[in-house]
């Protein structure tokens, strides 16, 4: 069966980012370097708060201009970014060849891991005290980078920095900080889609999903490239041309913009230029975005910026058909109040929560996080933390076909495994024996396999 995309399941490898120009010409004595101490002294309490944060993300230009920071005000981040840039540039200076392999990629200081990524003319830095792996942090900053690309495209960024290394990119990003903030918020919560680089689908009976896909296909128009029904960040149905895949990282950006901010949630029709970086990082597509019920949105994407009225008609026709066939209610019910499915629906005793990723479909599923197992925000955050730990352990670079790990922590045992076709992570009762763990894995796999067509979109509608 065809997957939704043909994207390799590994995150893009940034081990050899291109070194083009600029990095060796950095003006290290950038702007207001001398005033920093004063500013910081005035704001000690804030600085303490700033330094006590578990996670930081910084995006700056190679000339040291701040573009984004998760925490802190401008004065504070200016000096901090200055320090980061100096450290990065120092190592830059040490390598005399133009080969990027000598760039500083990561370092630890105390219990903080620093990871830097160079996407000339931008530098992205993640800092974490949470024990995530370098690869996980690199993946997180890649998500932020693709968000910036989706607003501006790679070519536009190169163009504005050409001959103006001091350009302030925030001028062009105006109004989209909320998307970066929404992403960093999700990352800090331990977002499974970002950890697994996979999409979540709405759980729907096969016949309902097929009906919706058939309706989308029957109303497609010449300019339509992709059509999606998405409900509460979960994919309900998708149609696409045979020769173009849809890439989960692109869809994650789209879902983040739609469901983690209010920008498109006002019942109006929106026409939005958007770059889907994994599809094409140099050009814009145009998305007609329309929220048609409480949690659900229809997204129609075209390469033609003048296709609004054509897609508007497509939208009217699709919604007419969805209403006629009473399909809107089942979509809403599938995700009502964030509902997914429950661990008790699965015949596996003691399982408290799990993540299952189908590598072929680049999709994952997870049950609701049950409040009696995970009653507080911090217990839910801890669960996601353990998933990150398991994920890092089974992805540690030492080969092997099927890798399994488990450990007991407090009142729960955590298990993870990575196979060629799936990844599975779960939390179960304390001191569970190996034999029981194996039984649990088998039972989950059997349940997933039995419910495959309800849980995953197998290829979507292709035209």
């Amino acid at each position: 069966m065809d997957g939704l995309t043909h994207r390799p399941t590994q995150n893009p490898d940034h081990s050899v980012p291109p070194l083009e120009t600029g990095l060796n010409d950095i003006d290290i004595s950038y702007d207001s370097g001398s005033e920093h101490d004063d500013n910081l002294d005035e704001d000690t309490s804030n600085l303490e708060v700033f330094l006590s944060q578990e996670k930081h993300f910084f995006i700056l230009s190679t000339a040291g201009k701040p573009i984004y920071s998760l925490h802190g005000d401008d004065n504070m981040i200016m000096s901090y970014m200055g320090v980061l840039l100096t450290i990065i540039s120092f190592f830059q200076g040490q390598s005399h060849d133009t080969d990027n392999s000598d760039q500083l990629r990561s370092f630890t200081a105390g219990n903080s891991l620093f990871v830097a990524s160079y996407e000339d003319p931008l530098i992205l830095v993640a800092i974490s005290k949470r024990g995530e792996s370098e690869q996980q942090l690199r993946n997180q900053i890649d998500v932020l980078y693709t968000q910036i690309l989706s607003t501006l495209t790679k070519s536009q960024i190169s163009r504005v920095f050409k001959g103006r290394t001091n350009f302030d990119l925030r001028r062009l990003l105006g109004g989209t900080e909320k998307f970066l903030t929404a992403l960093t918020r999700e990352i800090c919560k331990g977002s499974p889609p970002i950890l697994l680089s996979a999409l979540e689908c709405a759980k729907l009976p096969r016949t309902i999903r097929e009906k919706i896909t058939t309706i989308l296909l029957s109303h497609k128009s010449p300019s339509l490239l992709y059509g999606l029904v998405v409900s509460d960040s979960r994919l309900v149905s998708v149609i696409r041309p045979r020769k173009h895949s849809l890439h989960p990282p692109d869809l994650l950006l789209l879902f983040n913009m739609i469901f983690h901010t209010t920008a498109f949630r006002d019942g109006e029709e929106h026409w939005v230029p958007i770059c889907l970086p994994k599809f094409n990082s140099t050009g814009f597509l145009y998305a007609h975005i329309f929220q048609f019920s409480k949690n659900s949105v229809l997204v129609l994407i075209s390469a033609d910026k003048d296709a609004f009225f054509e897609l508007r008609t497509v939208k009217d026709n699709i919604l007419k058909s969805l209403r006629r066939d009473n399909l809107i209610k089942p979509i809403e019910l599938a995700v009502n109040n964030g509902f997914s499915f429950r661990t008790i629906d699965i015949p596996v005793p003691h399982i408290r929560h799990f993540l299952y990723k189908s590598k072929l479909d680049v999709q994952f599923i997870m049950p609701n996080i049950e409040p009696h197992f995970f009653p507080t925000t911090s217990s839910r955050k801890a669960l996601m933390g353990y998933y990150h730990k398991l994920h890092a352990m089974v992805h540690a670079k030492n080969g092997g076909k099927l890798k399994m790990v488990y450990f007991t922590k407090g009142s729960a045992t955590f298990f993870g495994c990575d196979s060629p076709t799936f990844e599975l992570y779960f939390a179960t009762g304390p001191d569970t024996t190996k034999a029981i763990l194996t039984l649990s894995v088998r039972a989950i796999l059997a349940w997933v396999s039995k419910n495959k067509e309800r849980l995953f979109i197998m290829g979507g509608g292709v035209f």
């Binding site: 607003t151 501006l152 495209t153 070519s155 536009q156 163009r159 504005v160 001028r171 062009l172 990003l173 105006g174 109004g175 989209t176 909320k178 913009m257 901010t261 209010t262 920008a263 498109f264 006002d266 109006e268 029709e269 929106h270 026409w271 939005v272 230029p273 958007i274 140099t282 050009g283 814009f284 998305a287 390469a303 910026k305 003048d306 296709a307 609004f308 009225f309 054509e310 508007r312």
Partner: protein
């Protein structure tokens, strides 16, 4: 506002309207006051553009339907503006009375419209945020004198309190060429964005 039904005897005309102006001057807030009679103090900035419609009755038997493009004011969207104002019948160019640079930006939009838009386009200059009178930077007389000289309709408005919001659209409606178009049942088609566009460039030209 209710949407009057078209009776057989009434005239119905449909017009394309575009809102332009610097970011954060209140374009979306004006449209929302007009279309939904709502105001949201913490409205987020528009991404791309939003498309809305609203119908008003000018008199007992004249109904005007506005198809409104509410555009985003950010610099990066500038090159997309022609797509929204091309063939527009009317434009509302908005500035913020508490930000004098926003009037300069509005003047640049007026210039661009007069040069490149439909030659019969009716342009209105709207100085928004009248509720922030205490922070005013742009004197009424200055903007009014400019509007007169440039041949624009002029209003000072407050999307927050609703002052002069409906008035803008009613005044525009009175100026629109209804007679010429009212005989046909479907009347004027305004901007046809489905037509191919000569200066079509898929990427931004900033």
């Amino acid at each position: 506002m209710s949407t009057p039904r078209t009776s057989t005897s009434s005239r119905m005309a449909q017009f394309k309207l575009v809102l332009l102006g610097e970011s954060a001057v209140g374009k979306s807030s004006l449209v929302h006051r007009f279309v939904k009679n709502q105001f949201d103090e913490f409205r987020e900035s528009t991404i791309g553009a939003a498309f809305l419609t609203q119908t008003i009755s000018l008199d007992d038997d004249t109904i005007i339907k506005f198809e409104i493009w509410d555009t985003a004011g950010q610099e990066r969207y500038k090159s997309l503006a022609p797509m929204y104002y091309r063939n527009a019948n009317c434009a509302v160019v908005v500035y913020d009375i508490t930000q004098s640079e926003s009037l300069e930006r509005a003047k640049a939009w007026v210039k661009e419209l007069q040069r490149q838009a439909n030659e019969n386009i009716i342009i209105t200059l709207a100085g928004n945020k009248l509720d922030l009178e205490q922070n005013r930077e742009v004197p009424t007389e200055e903007a009014e004198a400019y509007a007169k000289e440039a041949g624009l309709l002029f209003f000072e408005t407050s999307a927050k309190t609703g002052v002069n919001v409906t008035e803008i659209f009613t005044e525009i409606a009175k100026k629109l060429p209804i007679e010429a178009t009212s005989n046909k049942s479907k009347t004027v088609k305004g901007v046809d964005l489905t037509k191919s566009n000569i200066e079509s460039n898929s990427t931004c030209q900033c």
